[in-house]
């Protein structure tokens, strides 16, 4: 049985790298990624699961890292926005002006990227269901929808 009784070492697989970090059992993944690994792409905004700014991928699936303990992530593959390298969705966001302040962008990108990987031919309804998980206060979502649609395969 794995147990973690107090602050101690954790081993995490982040963006293809094996990392050893010090954390408390009660630390969220968001906190550890940012404060211990300096991966500040995932953003804190509500820390309550409501906004999606902290979204990262765990085994390829989008997860709100403010509602996951770091210790829960042991043994899973974590991808943060820093791990995205020249993916189509990143370029599509730039081309479609899919951000203004950019604070929600990392979270949206992770969710969009996962959707493109898991359901490359997602229907509009599926896309909406997935992307509803993230909030953006600057754009009108039209730009983000466009950026996503341009990356999904047309059926």
């Amino acid at each position: 049985m794995r147990s973690m009784l107090r602050e101690g070492f954790l081993e995490l697989d982040v963006n293809g790298e094996h990392r050893k970090v010090v954390a408390r059992p009660a630390d969220t993944l968001l906190h550890v990624l940012r404060e211990r690994l300096g991966l500040t792409g995932a953003k804190p905004s509500c820390k309550n699961g409501d906004c999606g700014a902290c979204t990262v991928l765990v085994d390829g699936w989008p997860i709100k890292s403010c509602l996951m303990l770091a210790v829960e992530a042991e043994g899973h593959l974590i991808t943060t926005v820093e791990g995205l390298k020249n993916t189509p969705i990143q370029k599509s966001f730039v081309d479609n002006f899919a951000f203004q302040c950019g604070y929600c962008t990392s979270g949206f990108l992770m969710n969009c990227h996962a959707l493109a990987q898991i359901h490359p031919q997602a229907s509009y309804a599926t896309m909406r269901e997935w992307l509803q998980s993230n909030l953006c206060r600057c754009t009108s979502y039209e730009e983000i929808t466009q950026a996503m649609e341009n990356v999904l395969l047309k059926t």
């Binding site: 820390k47 990143q90 002006f97 950019g102 962008t105 206060r137 979502y141 929808t145």
Partner: protein
């Protein structure tokens, strides 16, 4: 793709950083030496603080200091000094900071904050603007009479009451206006407070160096403002305070004021100047830091049978919450624009700001013009109905034109006003208005449209100014440095485009410095009021002229001709009559070296500044005056599909036509307009700060304070009219806020038509519509 100048959709300069997670916002600076602060906030809306017990909190290992209001006996505020960064004596709103704990980690500070024991004696609560007005209402501020007024002549508090501001605007002969009115409508409206919800919560770091230098890093729209107020209230020389602002994760006006910066400074001071980071939780951002004002309005309009407006009476009571901040200013702004962009020769407006035991307010996208516009534009629709006239026709008939005057007697011309009629004309086609305001679709569904006009001038301080510096690099590229903060709309990219246009060079060769540092960056008032491209753009143009002048001077020496014969473009200084005779700017930008080896000149630095001329404060009894340099005008419409059975609806389309003067970056401009519209639809349909009967905030979370989500957005139709403003860079007008202004009203007009009920109190949730229809017996 063409990358020279304006009128083209250059992606934001910081794009690559923003899509790779490399863009650094203020909280992204992770440093082991940072201490962390957490605020203790009030759980009552109005209560006397009987005692604060810190003993338990100090027992937590790693707590370095706890600061309460008693260690900081100051009162501050931009208009009137009514506010203490940490409450003293009593708390006046739920969420008001009472103390701040500094600890080795956020967890430690937060845990200790939970152990600070505050003993309260609850007081009766002022829970609405109407209640604030009652003579026997509890007083939010007993000391109103002795507060220092900072901006004399702009704020008129009434000691002994909760009235903080009373602005009067009087124009024409109201008596005569009513006599000429054949149709009169009158209605009241109530609009709740709401939140900015920048996705990056408000936060700041503070540090005091051993030599006394104060360094504040903040997620702010106004670094120079922070510098000004920290130095003022802590009695420091202005230059002893350095404020830095990196990329900001959204502001919408909420980051114009100085709030957490004061508290972070106090926290750092308490630990000997060590760097302290204070980040608000979402809940604190929604309750402790200022929000958007609420409004209670009554409007009476009179018109002749043909629809010509004859008279108008406006009472606007703004709920500014517990402290003034810019609340008194917003009342002035609303009063100055009270008529909407309509010709109304006889009017009276009384605009008030009243204290309540709600969260205090600050600027909100459009300086809260969306609220007064809601009341006016709903009344316009009611008037159209009473007249039996098409609502868009009524608006067109009364649209202001060059030669008319504003409520505060500013004479309008093409430059300071633009062309509203053209906007209305375009809107009509865009939204297919002639199809009819209300169309039955069968199956219990109705399609309906509503429209509203918008206008807004800025409320800039008459001495607001901006500067810009251009520096040339050895490779011939330029660095542009300005004091405006990048909060999202891409202002820095637009400014680079303005410079590129002037120098006729590739925008990619112009680097913009993203971070603002008050010790190094040129000044800019505040990144607010849609004035950035206008003010800073003018400063950039001035700097560009200076830069060109210097290039030509040295170019003339190299090319052996008078400077007047030269032009600058494509990174060269060349002979006007033969561009093939030229010198590269990189060869002269840092001094020119003759073939023989000796050199002349030096690095070329262009500098420019801009101050807004002709602004005049409003006269206290008539309101005569000029708050801002120009208006931007536009017309908007919303189309809904309404289900008469269950009162739910879908927002199908939303349209805006705005006179932008000149569109600098088409995709960028469309984006900020749509962003504003989206926010307006959110406010119109669901956003509201809800207070319990005790004045406690009930929905300080995004779980229960809903924003629009993806898929709920309608189809957006955005078009521009371009009537240049001769004073704006390349004719542009400030439009960054304006997309929001008429949208809540247009939505309410559409829904009122659909439901055939007066929907006068947003947010228009299905429940609100159900309630209104039930009230109307439907």
């Amino acid at each position: 793709m063409n990358t020279v100048g304006i009128g083209i959709s250059i992606p934001k300069k910081e794009s690559n950083d923003k899509v790779t997670g490399r863009a650094k916002y203020n909280t992204d600076h992770i440093r082991p030496e940072l201490l962390h602060a957490w605020m203790v906030t009030s759980i009552y809306a109005h209560a006397r603080i009987k005692s604060i017990d810190l003993a338990k909190a100090y027992k937590i290992t790693g707590v370095r200091a706890i600061v309460t209001g008693d260690s900081c006996p100051i009162l501050c505020g931009p208009a009137i000094e009514d506010w203490s960064p940490l409450a003293r004596g009593k708390v006046r709103y739920f969420g008001e900071p009472i103390a701040v704990v500094v600890g080795d980690s956020e967890a430690i500070a937060k845990e200790a904050a939970g152990l600070v024991q505050v003993e309260y004696e609850p007081l009766p609560v002022v829970n609405s603007p109407a209640q604030a007005f009652q003579a026997d209402s509890p007083k939010v501020h007993e000391d109103l009479a002795i507060y220092e007024i900072v901006q004399a002549g702009t704020i008129f508090p009434q000691p002994g009451t909760n009235i903080l501001q009373h602005v009067k605007v009087k124009k024409g002969d109201l008596q005569k206006g009513w006599q000429e009115s054949e149709v009169v409508v009158e209605a009241s409206y109530s609009l709740p407070q709401a939140n900015h919800i920048a996705m990056e919560p408000r936060n700041a770091r503070a540090e005091i160096k051993p030599d006394g230098q104060v360094i504040i890093d903040s997620s702010t729209q106004g670094p120079f403002n922070i510098q000004k107020f920290i130095s003022k209230y802590f009695k420091l020389d202005n230059s002893k305070v350095t404020v830095r602002a990196p990329l900001v994760g959204g502001g919408f006006g909420g980051k114009t004021t100085v709030h957490v910066e004061f508290i972070a400074y106090l926290a750092s001071r308490a630990v000997g100047g060590r760097p302290v980071k204070l980040v608000e939780s979402r809940e604190q951002d929604m309750t402790s830091s200022p929000c958007m004002l609420g409004l209670q309005a009554s409007i009476k309009l009179g018109a002749a049978k043909d629809g010509t407006l004859k008279a108008g009476e406006f009472t606007l009571i703004t709920d500014v919450g517990a402290y003034c901040d810019s609340g008194s200013e917003m009342a002035r702004g609303m009063a100055a624009d009270c008529s909407g962009p309509y010709r109304l020769d006889n009017l009276h407006c009384d605009a008030y700001s009243v204290y309540t035991n709600h969260t205090f307010v600050t600027a909100f996208r459009s300086f809260s013009r969306l609220s007064s516009t809601f009341a006016l534009e709903r009344t316009m629709d009611k008037l159209a109905f009473a007249l039996g006239m098409d609502p868009l026709e009524l608006r067109k008939k009364n649209a202001l034109r060059p030669g008319d005057t504003s409520p505060t007697m500013v004479r309008l011309n093409k430059n300071n006003f633009g062309n509203l009629e053209a906007c209305l004309e375009k809107l009509k086609t865009l939204i297919n208005w002639d199809e009819g305001v209300r169309v039955e679709l069968g199956n219990g569904k109705v399609r309906a449209k509503g429209a509203a006009c918008l206008w807004k001038t800025s409320s800039s301080s008459p001495n607001a100014h901006s500067s810009a510096i251009i520096i040339i690099n050895d490779d011939g590229t330029l660095n542009l440095s300005v004091g405006a903060v990048e909060i999202g709309p891409g202002s820095k990219t637009c400014l680079a485009q303005i410079l590129a246009e002037k120098l006729r060079m590739d925008v990619n060769k112009i680097h913009v410095i993203m971070e603002v540092d008050t010790s190094a960056s040129p000044h800019h008032w505040k990144t607010v009021a849609s004035m950035t491209n206008y003010m800073v753009g003018n400063a950039v143009l001035e700097a560009a002229r200076d830069f060109i002048r210097q290039l030509k001077t040295i170019g003339g020496i190299v090319l052996k001709c008078p400077a007047e014969m030269l032009e600058v473009g494509s990174g060269r200084v060349y002979l006007r009559e033969d561009p093939e005779i030229f010198v590269d700017i990189k060869e002269i930008g840092s001094g020119y070296q003759y073939p023989e080896g000796n050199a002349i000149g030096g690095q070329i630095i262009g500098r420019g500044n801009f101050i807004m001329p002709h602004l005049l404060p409003m006269d206290p009894s008539t309101g005569r005056g000029r708050l801002g340099p120009a208006w931007a005008v536009g017309a908007q419409a919303v189309e809904v599909e309404f289900n008469q059975r269950d009162f739910s609806y879908k927002i199908v389309r939303a349209a805006t036509v705005m006179d932008a003067g000149k569109v600098l970056n088409p995709k960028g401009a469309r984006g900020v307009v749509m962003g504003g519209m989206s926010m307006g639809l959110g406010y119109g349909s669901r956003e509201a700060a809800k207070y319990s009967t005790g004045g406690q905030r009930e929905n300080p979370q995004l779980r229960t304070y809903h924003l629009l989500r993806l898929g709920e957005n309608p189809q957006y139709l955005v078009e521009f009219v371009e009537t240049p403003d001769i004073n704006g860079p390349y004719g542009m007008r400030g439009i960054a806020e304006h997309g929001i202004i008429g949208i809540p009203a247009a939505l309410a007009n559409a829904l009122s038509a659909a439901a055939q009920a007066d929907l006068d109190c947003p947010p228009l949730t299905p429940q609100a519509i159900w309630q209104a229809c039930k009230g109307a017996g439907k």
